[in-house]
């Protein structure tokens, strides 16, 4: 019976550690790395709703991230709307975009869907890049106005950003967990395993994939708003690039697609690897981060498709627990 508590206990410990971290570690570079880790993890968990649970591999998710960043920024700059409201608006806009794009794309299977998402991501980036009203290639700089919660900006300390990032991650995990144990979650897993069998049981593939992409895109967009408020600068290159889309997917695959904690583990490991390679090879722009990403992806895809979580589960298999009544326990609950 002990095994059933292993994962939730580890999660609680990790959350506590994350909450205490900035109080114990004062170095700005380390604090920044921690925030980055939390934000990357949040994006991976959000991506996972569509990519891991529903099995629809999107390599264009940065489009939603950028949507969140740009919508909240534009609302804040042009209309003085609080970025918190902008975050919700950005999420809603991203969901609408996701439904618009998803509806025709979900007709495609496997490789073709992935390729279509790359195309969509590139189109969005190119359009924003060329459209002056959306800032064009130059982007937007957000003013460092008076620090404060409502304005969603803090100049002196990074601490508030850390806790907001942590809260957003926990919220995203909560949504993921709730979806996984709901009817939507069961249907998504069925669609991923055997789409025809799912249809024969009354499941409309398109409808549930659309639910998944709407949820996933909303969550990713909120991360985009957080990014904009933290960096105080957004442009197509930093918020809409295909390499950002890759990173979201990589983090989930590395940690374990279709698991709750996988992307978090993946974000932790990836951040460590990035920092390590930065120290060893000295700076980016020399392609070393790409080499590391590429090798990681290939090795994981070929040898350990279930990611870190899959590896851990194989090493320490959980015993089958007795049911409480007719309660169900499955893959998605971890």
């Amino acid at each position: 019976m002990r095994r059933r508590w292993a994962w939730p206990a580890a999660g609680a410990a990790a959350a506590a550690a994350a909450a205490l971290f900035p109080l114990l570690v004062a170095r700005p570079t380390w604090q920044n790395a921690a925030i980055l880790m939390l934000m990357t993890a949040q994006l991976g968990v959000a991506w996972n709703v569509l990519g891991g649970y529903a099995g629809q591999v999107s390599l264009g998710h940065a489009a939603f991230f950028g949507t969140g960043a740009y919508v909240s920024t534009l609302l804040s700059l042009k209309l003085g709307v609080s970025p918190w409201l902008g975050m919700l608006a950005g999420g809603g806009t991203a969901s609408l975009l996701a439904l618009l794009v998803g509806w025709p794309c979900f007709r495609l299977k496997g490789h073709y869907f992935a390729m279509a998402t790359i195309a969509v991501g590139e189109i969005v980036q190119a359009l924003v890049n060329g459209w002056d009203a959306l800032g064009g290639a130059v982007g937007f700089t957000l003013p460092l106005a008076e620090s404060g919660f409502w304005g969603f900006v803090w100049g002196r300390s990074k601490l508030p950003y850390h806790y907001i990032a942590l809260s957003l991650l926990l919220l995203t995990l909560l949504v993921n967990w709730a979806v996984a144990r709901s009817r939507i979650g069961y249907y998504l897993r069925a669609i991923k395993d055997e789409p025809d069998a799912a249809r024969s049981l009354g499941v409309s593939l398109t409808r549930y994939k659309l639910y998944a992409i709407a949820i996933s895109s909303f969550l990713v967009a909120t991360g985009g708003t957080l990014y904009a408020q933290k960096e105080l600068f957004i442009d197509p290159g930093s918020t809409l690039s295909t390499s950002l889309s890759i990173k979201m997917a990589l983090v989930a695959i590395l940690g374990g697609v279709g698991t709750l904690g996988g992307p978090v583990l993946g974000a932790v490991v990836l951040t460590f690897i990035e920092e390590a390679s930065r120290i060893v090879f000295g700076g980016t722009g020399r392609g070393t981060d790409l080499v590391v990403y590429g090798l990681l992806i290939v090795l994981i895809a070929v040898y350990q498709p279930a990611g870190i979580v899959g590896f851990l589960r194989a090493r320490w298999p959980a015993r089958e627990a007795e049911p409480r009544g007719a309660g169900a326990r499955g893959e998605g609950a971890t």
Binding site: A119, I123, V291, Y293
Partner: protein, 288 residues
């Protein structure tokens, strides 16, 4: 806009389109034989460009003369890549297949950036530099030679597939792997062959392009997207489809850039891809 200018634009679109077609032929061949989309295909082109570049920079060898060597080099590389990596994911879940070739794409780009620096390179003063006049229109000689070379290579692949026993074996494996295996055709050899030819096609295209196109580690990215479009448009697995789609898309791209805005060329091409893939998933000439 004069009729002459229009004609010039159209023909230059055809010229680049023929090169696009060659790249797509390699991609569609790999897909047709083993149902794997090679996201790293643009990197074969990039390697072909760099091979030509270094031959020129180090030993003053003209890319046109080193073309056969580049083709052989990329053929060997493609086949070797198959044996080292792709072979292991033939029957793996689709997620693994996507990410393997995707990871290779990133790996090769990173390696190129690391080994040869991100700077733009070019090959100057080749044997084909200059212009050629035709019916009152002017074209760059490298572009024309590249187009002719692409057509010749595409034709050679076509001839190989249709007129040789080995090519027939390849097509048989593409049609039905198990049936072909039962007839004594070694699937592993066919897969390696497909990767070799596919890589060689992209490599030759790269070598031809190196006479006038800038060479840099990410150069594969623009070509891979267009190759996807061609393969989808022409039909997954159809060499002829890729060829005609190449000409069409080359014209669309150049016309679009001319009539609308060069910055939006890719948007146009990509939108065309999405349109085709939504309305007619099997492409113009492809098997469903």
């Amino acid at each position: 806009m004069t009729a002459q200018l229009l004609l010039q634009t159209l023909l230059s679109g055809v010229l680049i389109g023929l090169v696009y077609a060659l790249v797509a032929v390699g991609l569609t061949l790999i897909f047709g034989v083993m149902d794997i989309v090679n996201f790293a295909h643009g990197e074969f082109l990039m390697l072909g460009m760099y091979a030509s570049f270094w031959g020129f920079a180090l030993w003053k060898l003209d890319p046109i003369f080193t073309l056969p060597l580049t083709a052989l080099l990329l053929f060997a590389f493609g086949a070797a890549l198959y044996h080292a990596v792709i072979r292991r994911i033939i029957d793996a879940p689709m997620l693994s297949q996507i990410f393997t070739s995707f990871g290779l794409m990133i790996l090769f780009r990173g390696l190129a950036q690391y080994l040869w620096k991100p700077d733009f390179r070019s090959v100057d003063h080749t044997v084909v530099e200059g212009k050629v006049a035709f019916a009152g229109l002017q074209f760059g000689l490298p572009q024309v030679v590249a187009a002719l070379g692409a057509v010749a290579t595409t034709g050679a692949v076509w001839w190989f597939l249709r007129r040789t026993r080995l090519g027939a074996a390849l097509e048989a494996t593409a049609a039905d792997r198990e049936a072909a295996a039962l007839m004594g055709i070694d699937s592993q050899k066919m897969f390696a062959l497909a990767w070799g030819i596919g890589a060689a096609c992209a490599g030759v295209a790269g070598a031809l392009l190196s006479t006038y196109y800038p060479i840099f580690p990410e150069v594969g990215s623009s070509f891979i997207l267009i190759a996807f479009v061609l393969v989808a448009l022409g039909g997954f697995g159809s060499v002829a489809g890729a060829f005609w789609a190449g000409i069409l898309v080359g014209i669309v791209e150049v016309l679009g850039g001319f009539l609308w805005d060069p910055a939006y060329k890719m948007v146009l091409v990509l939108s065309l891809y999405l349109l085709v893939v939504w309305l007619r998933p099997q492409g113009l000439m492809g098997k469903a």
